[in-house]
């Protein structure tokens, strides 16, 4: 029974943090190259554009939900399962979500990188 809760927490963390990363990435793509924008119109304009983008607060909200899911998960289950499982799965789901929602060209090289990093994270936490 405990493992159901643990994997439920992992699923919640993976889903919400993937949503957060995708939303923040979309927000920043809509804002455009921050370096160029700052040179053209100053730091204040950059901050203003980021804060006014509707995807930005949504991304932050998703990240906050992911953080609280992690806290709840850690209060039920083992840190040695929840942290490596959620972190490494997030690398894989992010590659999928970036391909589907952000239309990024996730080629073989990027898939291999995502899987290697996911495997490395599991080993680090083992």
């Amino acid at each position: 029974m405990k493992s159901v809760y643990e994997w439920g927490a992992v699923a919640a963390i993976v889903l919400t943090s993937t949503a957060g990363d995708v939303l923040l990435s979309r927000a920043m793509k809509q804002v455009g190259d921050v370096g160029q924008l700052r040179r053209r119109s100053g730091l204040q304009a950059v901050v203003g554009r980021v804060l006014r983008n509707p995807n930005f607060p949504l991304g932050i909200l998703a990240m906050a939900v992911a953080f609280y899911s992690l806290l709840f998960g850690l209060s039920w289950g083992d840190v040695s399962l929840i942290v490596p499982a959620s972190t490494s799965l997030t690398f894989v789901t992010n590659a999928l979500a970036a391909k589907i929602f952000l239309h990024e060209r996730v080629d073989q090289r990027r898939w291999v990188a995502a899987l290697l990093v996911a495997g490395g994270v599991v080993l680090l936490a083992a």
Partner: protein, 146 residues
């Protein structure tokens, strides 16, 4: 990819790693916070190590957002997973923790993955995005002229 952009990516990894280590160090100084006295968690920011950790994590977030403004998510995430390697090195050489063979293998896998992705292009070209950037440039250049 310019040197400045690589520095921003390095900033993401370094700020995340050092920020997390400082938070961990600071929270051990503060001690266990019981659920019955949860408001005390607000006071933990008064601990200078915790405060510095939070400051560095804010720097991490700024660098992360900057990187996402000119690179794909599937490029930024693996590139910044260098922070896991840095945390392992900090744990081994500064905090004097023992790092097992399995963890070194994990560090090796992440390094290879990072090497893989950084050899490729950083951004998928989107025609729509390029157009909107051009429109923005026109808007700004016309706005700058009297």
């Amino acid at each position: 990819m310019t040197l400045r952009k690589y520095l921003v990516l390095a900033g993401v990894a370094v700020f995340a790693a050092v920020g997390d280590c400082l938070l961990s160090l600071g929270m051990k100084q503060v001690g266990t916070i019981s659920l019955h006295r949860l408001p005390e968690i607000v006071l933990t920011v008064l601990n200078p190590t915790v405060a510095l950790g939070i400051l560095l994590l804010l720097c991490f977030f700024a660098c992360y957002m900057t990187a996402l403004s000119w690179a794909d998510l599937t490029y930024v995430l693996p590139a910044t997973s260098v922070s896991y390697i840095l945390i392992t090195l900090i744990a081994r050489f500064f905090l004097h923790e023992t790092v097992s063979l399995g963890r070194w293998l994990g560090v090796a896998l992440i390094s290879i993955g990072v090497g893989f992705v950084t050899l490729g292009p950083a951004l998928t070209p989107h025609p729509r995005q390029a157009e909107s950037n051009d429109a923005l440039a026109v808007q700004f250049s016309s706005g700058a002229e009297p």
